[in-house]
Each structure stands twice: as C-alpha cells, then as structure tokens.
C-alpha cells in the first residue's frame, strides 16, 4: 500500500459518515418518541439537535473537498468521495424530516385530541431499518443488501397510502379532528420521505461499488 495516509483518511471519512447516520437515527427515534408521548421537551431537543447534524454534514463535505483537491482521486476513490458527499446530504435531509416531526409535536402540544395512528411508528421502524441497512451496505460494499433496501421502500409507500386514506376517512367522519389529523398527515409524509432518502443512500452504494449511476431502474436493467 503506497497510499496508506489517503486510505486512512477514506476510512475515517466513512466512519464519520456512519456516525452522522447514527445521529440521524437517534433524531428519528426521539422525534417519534416525542410524538407518541406528546413530550414537548424531547421534541424541542430534536429540533435543537438538528443544528449538530447540519454542522456534521458540512464538516464531511469540507473533508471530501480537501481530499479531492489534494489527492486527485480516481476510479474507486473518486466514486467513494462522491458517494460520501451525496450520502451526507441524504442523511442531513433525513435529519430535517426528524426535525419536522419534532416541530409538529410542538404544534400539537401536550393535550391528546386524537390518538396517533398506529401505522406511523410502523413506518418509522421500517425507515430506521432501511437507514441502518443502507449504511451497513455501504460499510460492507454489499449491493445485495442495498437492493434489499430498495425493495422495502414499496412496503413503506404502501403503509403511507393506507395511513393517508385512513386519516382522510377520519377527517370526514370527525371534522373536529381535522387540524390534528393534518399534522399526522405531515408526519406520515416526513416518514415516507425518510424511507425514500434511505433508498437514495442504497443507490449511491450501488454506484460506489459498480460505477453505475442512474438509480435502481438502470442498475437492474443491466443485470
């Protein structure tokens, strides 16, 4: 190995990216916890801590730029740095959705006009699993696992459609709950987007490993 220093930098970068993923994971868990328990203090924490996620994303971006400028990466190194840059953005946006859920909790307040739809925690769990697996597929350069993440996005979409239908139905039957129900619609939307972002991460892993960009559709056509 004649580029031990550079290799070490790439390893550190990946570890930090996974660290960012863990921050986002915690934010999602806390935001859902705040929602289910109507815990405003926790919701406030999620919103405040999003700044840390944003800062970490920019820190990673700067490190990537430094390495591109100083190491002139090519081939797998170039793809790794591009993937890290893009995945950092995906994670940061997932953090924003968690922050969004936190803000909704603060709007809903601590009285409980309607019960939280049970599908929402389910969607959150699925999104979290997708997030963890997408990062695992990155660390292990595992395209099968990345493909599996892509597959599970359909399940989240299905739940999302179902919960939306249910909420609209409830709105019709109980007009007084419309305001609260609208907030839950937003949460469902945020969770659906979280799963989409995890899929994007998996797509970037496929790109990193195979060099094929253009998303899963293209990748699968070539198989």
């Amino acid at each position: 190995m004649v580029r031990a220093d550079f290799d070490r930098s790439l390893e550190e970068l990946q570890a930090e990216l996974v660290g960012l993923g863990e921050m986002v994971e915690r934010a999602i868990i806390k935001s859902m916890d705040a929602l289910e328990r109507r815990d405003l203090a926790v919701a406030y924490e999620v919103v405040a801590e999003d700044d840390l996620i944003d800062a970490k994303r920019f820190e990673l971006e700067e490190k990537c730029i430094d390495l591109i400028a100083t190491q002139q990466p090519l081939a797998i190194d170039l793809r790794t740095l591009l993937a890290v840059l893009q995945i950092a953005v995906e994670l940061e946006r997932m953090g924003d959705y968690a922050e969004g859920i936190g803000k909704i909790c603060m709007i809903i307040g601590d009285d409980v006009p309607v019960e939280t739809p049970k599908e929402l925690p389910q969607m959150a769990d699925m999104g979290l699993t997708m997030l963890r697996r997408s990062l695992k597929s990155l660390v292990e350069r595992d395209t099968d696992l990345a493909n599996a993440v892509w597959d599970s996005d359909d399940d989240v979409d299905e739940l999302y459609d179902g919960v939306c239908r249910q909420i609209f139905l409830d709105m019709g039957q109980h007009p007084k709950t419309i305001e609260a129900a609208t907030h839950f619609l937003w949460v469902a939307h945020d969770l659906e987007r979280i799963a989409d972002r995890a899929t994007n991460i998996a797509e970037r892993v496929i790109f990193l490993v195979t060099g094929q960009s253009g998303g899963f559709g293209d990748h699968r056509e070539n198989e």
């Binding site: 004649v2 580029r3 081939a75 060099g211």
Partner: protein, 257 residues
C-alpha cells in the same frame, strides 16, 4: 464503448531488444482525430510501443519488431515501405523540447525544404506556427534562434515543426514532463485543438494529464513473466472512473505494487 474509427492498428505487436521482450502481443486501435494516451509504470514498454507507430525503433540496432502496425490498412513494416516517409506522415514530439540550433523560421521550414516543398514556404511556416499556438509570440522574431525560447515555447516550436510536414498522426512521448504547469496546460489545450485534424498518441506518466486530455486510454503493465502487455483499453472517462480490471484500478489510484 462506441465503435472507433481506427487510423492505426497494432496487431499482435511485440518488440524485442536483443532477446529481451519489452512489448508483448499488443493489440490496440488508435482512433482517428482523437487523443489516445498510453499509461503504465516505468519499464512497461510505453515509449517502445509509441515508437513502433512511426518505426523509430528501426534506429535502435538491437530492436526487433514482430506483428503488424496498420496505418489506414497499410502495414508499416511491409517490404516496400520507406520509414522516412512514414515519419513525415506520423510525426513525433519528444520529452525534452529539441529545436535545431537554427532560427525559429528555419526550424519550421526544415522538414518541408528537405521534402522538396514547392509552395509558399512563408505561408506554411506561419500556418504551422499558428496551429501550434506560437505565432503571436514569435512573429516579430522569426529570425532569432529557436533555442532562445522558453521551454514551453520550444515544445510548441517542435510541434509546429512536426506539423509543417503535414502529418496525420502526432506521437508525443511525455511532451510536458520538462514543462511547468502553465506551459503544460498550454500544450494540453493545443493538443485538444489539434485533435480536430490530427490523431494524437501521447505517452504520459501523469495520470491526471491522461484523464484531462485523452479520449481513449491504454494501460500497459509489466510483470515478472511478461513485459509490456496491455491490461486494458477504453474510453478515458471509463478508465478513470470505473476501470474493468483491478490492476488498472490499483495503478490509477496509486496503489500499484
């Protein structure tokens, strides 16, 4: 990779110095009006391969070439081929700028004069210097020595000299290795312009340069058992972002050996 229109084709090309094989069974198509770079570690036969394309290896007594080099279908090593004529059609620019100790004008006019050029030589000199992006810098001092120019200008003078005999291919052996970064970029820019009308092959140690200037890249390697064999050839875009062969990847990412 899209189909390439070859101007030069190496077919099972091997080169020996005495009994030592230094290029092994190379099959390579060189695209017309494109830039092809040959990269690889020291001793992988890059320059030797390059010299096969205009029979410069003939000048090395111990060198022997096997296989074919086709130039628009014509075998350069065929019986009735005059290597001197080949070198007009397939010009060469070397690592260190090597102007003749003559005036700028005479450097450029030298080849055409020997060739018995009958046209307007002033016009030819100007056109060649313009094509080499040197005219504006030297038009007021054409009678001064070529050696009075800077390194980058001298290299462009050598390119003008090669262009003056109206070749269709230009071979470049590390043309920027003796130049500073600005002069290097000027030559690269020039290569880019020239590729509209000429086919260019460049041997370079500078991977970034190969990535910047060339449309196609060939990667040569040396192993204990085999010397100067081609590992991979493809569009530069592909070679430098996602090479097929892990040996190519190891080399271009600097993890070779």
């Amino acid at each position: 990779m899209q189909d390439l229109d070859p101007i030069l084709q190496a077919r099972d090309l091997s080169v020996y110095y005495d009994t030592k094989k230094v290029v092994t069974d190379v099959n390579l198509d060189v695209a017309r009006n494109r830039i092809t770079s040959i990269i690889g570690p020291s001793g992988s036969g890059k320059s030797t391969l390059l010299r096969c394309f205009n029979r410069m290896n003939d000048l090395i007594p111990s060198a022997r070439v096997e296989g074919q080099v086709l130039f628009d279908g014509l075998d350069l090593y065929g019986h009735n081929v005059d290597p001197t004529e080949i070198r007009y059609l397939i010009g060469m620019v070397f690592q260190r700028p090597n102007p003749f100790p003559k005036s700028i004008y005479d450097n450029v006019a030298f080849g055409p004069r020997i060739n018995g050029f009958k046209g307007d030589i002033d016009e030819l000199v100007e056109r060649s210097l313009r094509r080499a992006a040197l005219w504006d810098e030297v038009k007021d001092r054409l009678k001064t020595s070529g050696l009075s120019l800077s390194g980058g200008q001298q290299q462009r003078l050598c390119i003008a000299r090669a262009l003056a005999v109206e070749p269709s291919v230009i071979l470049m052996d590390e043309p920027c290795s003796a130049l500073d970064p600005i002069a290097t970029l000027a030559i690269e820019e020039l290569m880019h312009e020239l590729s509209e009308d000429y086919s260019i092959i460049i041997v370079t140690h500078n991977m970034q340069q190969a990535a910047r200037v060339s449309h196609y890249t060939a990667f040569l390697m040396v192993e204990e058992a085999r010397v100067g064999f081609m590992v991979e050839f493809g569009e530069s875009r592909k070679i430098f972002t996602n090479p097929e062969d892990e040996r190519t990847e190891a080399y271009i990412t600097g993890r070779f050996g």
